[in-house]
Amino acid sequence: MKNRILVVEDDTAIAEAIGLNLMLSEYEYKIIDDGADVVSYLEKDHGFDLALLDVMLPHLDGFELMQYMERYNIPVLYLTAKVDLASKIKGLRLGAEDYIVKPFEMLELLVRIEKILARTGKLNTILRYKTITVDLQKRTVQKDGDPVLLQPLEFDLLAILLKFKNCTLSRDRLLNEVWGFDFAGGTRTVDIHVAHLRKKLGPELNIVSVTKLGYRLED
């Protein structure tokens, strides 16, 4: 089952861009552009795993919406143009899981969404790709029902490529996410592990090399 995310943002261009990315990352989403509308909508449908709230909204602002989110037990991530510390503290004190300051990178938002979902235990732990099934909790990989043995780092790399399917990931980002910030080796390490994955899982795993950028797992 896909995770459902509520996007409350009054700028259509931003809301649509977020929506498009959520869809590509296999989330379901609902966009609402008015604080008051959120309240009435939640009465009918409140089955969301996460809410992305803009702070500056017509009628009811993001902070005022917090109590409704608490009522329906929906974790909150604030999207805010306010850089001042006071409003950050206010947001977090109200019980938000995290905040992200505009302008932000899409990939960073996706990572934070995933972290919150993992923390609240709502993350989908079984990832499927064609005939490949990855269980994030058990750390097992199956292809056509047969287990495939992967090194821990190879597993992490596969997991991140699957999570950000159809999304180009730079070698630096992969290094940061899989090997950690303090990893001393060069970006060649990534290339070697990608080659291992291709070898172990066969041509079905469509990892595309994007010139100058990095890698992308495509359907």
Partner: protein
């Protein structure tokens, strides 16, 4: 050196000099008087003695008898203890303990007695002497009178002068210090006032009420402090407005920039369908256009005051130009524009006024329902734009000319508003020395007036 120290030093030098001079004068006069008295009494005494001695009735020839006779004469005279008798350097009588002849010889002349006052062995003496002829012998008789009383009196007087002079000086200096420090106190007040202004407390005022120079200085100081405080607070206000503007601007830029970044990032890194790509691209284009519009308006705001050129122009041609510009927007919104003017002329910059009126009419169109009317009117000393749209809430009327202020934020952003239009109009009005007056009632409509300061 402190001012008070310097003044006191000068004053003390002067007073010491004055005391010294007056003491010297007094002492001199007293000394002269006393000496004159002493000389007079000595001369009287001596002339008596001389008379007694020189009154001879027998002339002896034997020198020893002569000596004896003279000795006898002198011894019988009064004031014997002060007398000396000598002959050819040999003293027959000398009761004074020293030989007065060397002192007197300089002044002795033809037997007429002369006096001299001199100090011998620390004591002041008055000496009078004369030659006395007896037979063929010449004796010298002299009287030596000690003036130690006079000396002592002078010493006492000098001591008194010193004591009195010193106490007068000290008293004077104390008084002078007292008066000076009292009259210099306001200067210290002024100083601390100036200090606290210098350290940023611009509200400081000096509380000195006097009619003298210092009082006037304090008044001038306060006037200056007023001027400084006013211009500082003006500057501060200006600065705050600028800061607010920059804050608002950067906040305002966040949303379009975020949307540009998100959409372009999506296109760069994700595989998306053609429809989604189309949509993301058009979003990017829209936002870029919005930013371009915003920066154009900002430039106008910034350079407005440099390029203005006020010319006496007919309002008819202004209105024609305005109508030409807005005709498309009017058609699209289905709103009618009525124009009402006679042959008024205003001192104005045609381009700026046109842009201001177009701005106002565009706003009026946005507020109006399809089928309603917007009026553009010139009369007396004012030009106004009136609509019959939804109006502005009362408590927001004053704020709509603030940069980036929007009454209905999400609606005006959807319509491409930058929130700078009315701020720009207000600046244009200011540049024309005109007042921008906004009258509005909810659901009835809004009238915005340019009230020019002088009717032409």
């Amino acid at each position: 050196m402190r001012l008070i120290t310097r003044i006191l030093l000068c004053a003390s030098v002067l007073i010491v000099a004055a005391v010294l001079i007056s003491c010297a004068l007094i002492l001199h006069a007293v000394d002269r008087q006393k000496r004159a008295d002493a000389i007079k009494s000595a001369e009287t005494d001596f002339s008596e003695i001389y008379y007694t001695i020189s009154n001879v009735n027998t002339v002896l020839s034997d020198p020893i008898l002569c000596d004896t006779y003279m000795t006898y004469k002198v011894k019988s005279a009064s004031h014997l203890d002060q007398l000396t008798l000598s002959y050819d350097g040999t003293y027959l009588i000398n009761n004074v303990g020293f030989t007065p002849e060397p002192f007197l010889s300089e002044t002795s002349e033809n037997g007429i007695y002369h006096y001299v006052i001199t100090r011998v062995g620390g004591t002041l003496y008055l000496m009078i002497g004369t030659d006395v002829y007896y037979g063929d012998r010449i004796y010298i008789i002299s009287m030596v009178r000690s003036l130690h009383e006079l000396d002592a009196a002078m010493r006492t007087l000098i001591l008194q002068c010193v004591v009195i002079g010193a106490s007068v000086t000290v008293l004077f200096l104390f008084l002078a210090w007292f008066i000076l420090s009292a009259s210099l106190k306001p200067i210290r007040t002024l100083q601390s006032g100036a200090q606290s202004i210098a350290s940023g407390d611009y509200g400081t005022r000096i509380d000195i009420h006097r009619k003298d120079e210092i009082g006037r200085l304090a008044d001038e100081f306060n006037t200056m402090a007023d001027a400084v405080e006013n211009s500082i607070s003006d500057l501060r206000e200006q600065n705050e407005r600028k800061q607010q503007f920059i804050n608002d601007l950067s906040h305002e830029m966040k949303t379009p920039v975020t949307s540009l970044l998100l959409n372009s990032e999506t296109l760069l890194t994700r595989t998306v369908s053609d429809a989604d790509r189309e949509r993301a691209l058009s979003r990017i284009h829209e936002q870029a256009e919005w930013i371009e519009r915003l920066s154009r308006k900002l430039m106008q705001l910034v350079v407005l005051s440099d390029q203005i050129e006020l010319v006496l122009s007919p309002v008819v041609s202004l209105f024609d130009a305005v109508r030409e510009t807005v005709v498309d927007s009017l058609d699209r919104a289905g709103v009618k524009l009525t124009v009402e003017c006679n042959d008024e002329t205003f001192l104005m910059d045609m381009n700026l006024m046109r842009s201001a009126l177009v701005n106002l009419i565009e706003n009026a169109i946005k507020a109006s329902e399809r089928g309603s009317t917007v009026e553009l009117i010139a009369r007396n000393n004012e030009i106004l734009v009136r609509d019959h749209g939804k109006g502005i809430p009362k408590d927001e009327v004053a704020r709509v000319t603030e940069p980036f202020y929007m009454v209905d934020r999400s609606r005006s952003k959807k319509l491409g508003g930058s929130g700078l239009g009315l701020a720009l109009v207000k600046r244009i009005a200011e540049a024309h020395h005109a007042e921008l007056v906004i009258e509005s009632e909810l659901n009835i409509g809004t009238s915005i007036f340019f009230r020019f300061s002088d009717a032409i």
